[in-house]
Subunit: 387 residues, 2 copies
């Protein structure tokens, strides 16, 4: 186990009707806030009205910025930053899924910075402080509701880049599983894939003696796998929605990575795809993760065999651990397919035309991954394996 520091003080408010707490919780952190959201779904569902009423009841002044798209754009972030500076806003309330929260985090960092907010993503500068953020989560997937990171896309060149800082962790996150009842199956499945990927990125590590976090990862994966069919068959099953929602947060609140070094190559490889093609991040991960696994499993067959055994209940073949390992990868692929995800690029109508360009862009700053270091050629081959 590596030495580590872990702190995650985000207040989780979980359960039915919890969105009604938003005014009271926001008031503890700010007086004049930016209400940030995506498309029209929060208006048609009635959530917008509830939020606005709760803010008004507490006498909180607010400005609105909607229109966040999946793979949130830096242009909208810049608009938000300008609004925060112009109106001296002191708190950002994100109502939505990972894209909205990530956009809010970028605005929160930009609002405290004199330069262009993209500097934090290009590597030109580092975040040191942020406006406080609150979240009402509507899509369990990204784990951004308690994480310290954000991913934003720059339309000028379609660069999708990440940055982070501990002050980016939201002050509170309101999680009501009922708000996820209306999520379409495809989006639900993308979210499930995304949260599983967050765990897998941490699971495949070269750090030895990480038994507790291995087991916590496996426990969370098993829960997601076990509840996924239920939420897809019966979208209004509260219990299963609740398990998935809480698992999505645990998957990415940094606890499961304590004492480990995560990999994160698959995320980077996928970012190039969803940066160019605007495919859902989860769907991209369902395609890339199995391809990545096939490319790297020989690096640590025992770890892949443990994964197959403990997560997928594949019997260990001690005389042929590679067989066990490969069965686990197969099970992963089959699971993604069973929840309606594409598992090849061609299923997502993505051809080979940008493979070289994407492999080059993905590795232009540094080699990807930690479990196995991947150069441009490796990334290209993974795209080939995924086609």
């Amino acid at each position: 186990m590596n030495d580590f520091t872990f702190q995650n003080g985000t207040k989780i408010i979980f359960g039915k009707d919890t969105e009604q707490m938003v005014g009271k919780e926001s008031k503890a952190h700010g007086k004049k806030l930016l209400l940030h959201y995506g498309g029209g779904s929060i208006k048609s569902s009635g959530l917008y009205e509830k939020i606005v009423n709760s803010l008004k009841e507490e006498g909180i002044e607010f400005y609105e910025l909607g229109g966040v798209k999946p793979n949130p754009r830096v242009s909208l972030v810049r608009e938000g930053v300008t609004m925060c500076k112009e109106h001296e806003l002191d708190f950002i309330l994100a109502v939505g899924g990972g894209s909205v929260i990530d956009s809010a985090k970028a605005i929160a960092a930009g609002a405290k910075y004199d330069g262009d907010v993209w500097d934090f993503f290009s590597g030109k500068n580092q975040v040191t402080e942020c406006l406080p953020i609150g979240v009402v989560l509507t899509i369990p997937a990204a784990g951004s509701e308690t994480s310290s990171g954000t991913v934003v896309t720059n339309e000028d060149g379609w660069f999708k880049r990440a940055t982070g800082h501990l002050t980016m962790r939201p002050q509170f996150a309101i999680l009501n599983p009922i708000l996820t009842y209306t999520l379409p199956s495809y989006q639900t499945a993308c979210g499930i894939t995304d949260m599983m990927a967050h765990i897998l990125e941490r699971y495949f590590t070269n750090v030895k003696h990480v038994e507790l976090t291995d087991r916590l990862c496996e426990a969370t994966l098993k829960t997601i796998i076990n509840n996924a069919p239920t939420v897809l068959e019966n979208p209004t099953n509260y219990d299963a929605r609740a398990e998935i929602m809480w698992a999505g947060t645990i998957a990415h609140n940094d606890l499961l990575g304590t004492g480990r070094i995560g990999d994160w190559a698959s995320h980077d490889i996928e970012h190039e795809i969803s940066g160019i093609y605007d495919i859902a991040h989860g769907a991209g991960l369902a395609i890339i993760f199995p391809a990545w696994m096939k490319y790297v499993y020989k690096h640590d067959v025992k770890r892949f065999a443990q994964f197959a055994n403990r997560v997928w209940d594949v019997e260990l073949d001690l005389n042929d651990l590679e067989k066990t390992a490969l069965a686990g990868i197969k099970k992963t692929e089959q699971f993604f397919r069973s929840i309606g995800m594409p598992i090849t690029l061609s299923e997502a109508n993505i051809g080979e035309e940008h493979f070289e360009e994407m492999a080059k862009k993905a590795t232009e700053r540094w080699a990807l991954g930690n479990f196995v270091k991947l150069q441009e050629e490796d990334v290209y081959r993974i795209y080939q394996l995924a086609k």
Copy 2:
């Protein structure tokens, strides 16, 4: 899953040499602190000197109060409260195990209160604020390093009582597994039992659909069970000590109880024993938990069978789940014995003479437990089962 609120912002600083951070971390919270500790072991081990040097390097003024005993006494707490008020101390640094931290928490609450600190334990008043607390942990066991509760004993009548408040969570907890190398086997085993008991108290619940937290509990229990023999056979095995230490914190940081109602009867039943007999809390739990299990398992045979299967790898007998359940209880008992714990009161030289009195005192305020509500007669029978 029940609705819940969860927040635990304690900063964990985990790993080798981390005690050298204590001055810097303390300085972020206070200027004039109370250094609180137990007996002479931190002096003989050299830890005391390191702590004092680190505080001096940061120019932190401090007063000292040592002498905390296992099952910490309210008399020493009162002394600490007086010192805090007299010298206007603004931070408490606890260096030790659960008793020292619990004592520090009680002082932290008393220092902000005009009445007698025991009011918080007798139920006369409730904690609303505390001085901030920092911890250097030397005994992984109680989980007090990130928990919001404290247990203190009043020598006047030997009442052992608990209280808590969210402001009692330490600001930081420094966890260096090397500091636990010198713990004697018996104390190590008591700590292991205590952390397992914290998980078991949460595990046995009547709340349905708690799959994620069930699995997280099982993961943490399995890790403890798997590493316990290693730390007992080889006290300087860093990896195993690290697993046990981190598991002890996770066991009681409230995450594993999210959405559940824990039981806690065994803790209350044990408190009467260690209140009177001054037996180690962990040893008392090793005796009481199996007896409690035997007394209540019929209330939910399926849950006990799941416990046997998932934690102890007992094969499920679907035609006789009671057999599976009983095998799990037997395994628990055998495990406690294997790590050197007593599993009957007689092994701890405790006779029947106080059974009636302890059962009466344990239930004088309310019935114990949530999984099964226990009255005086039930508690008496559990002492009988444990004799």
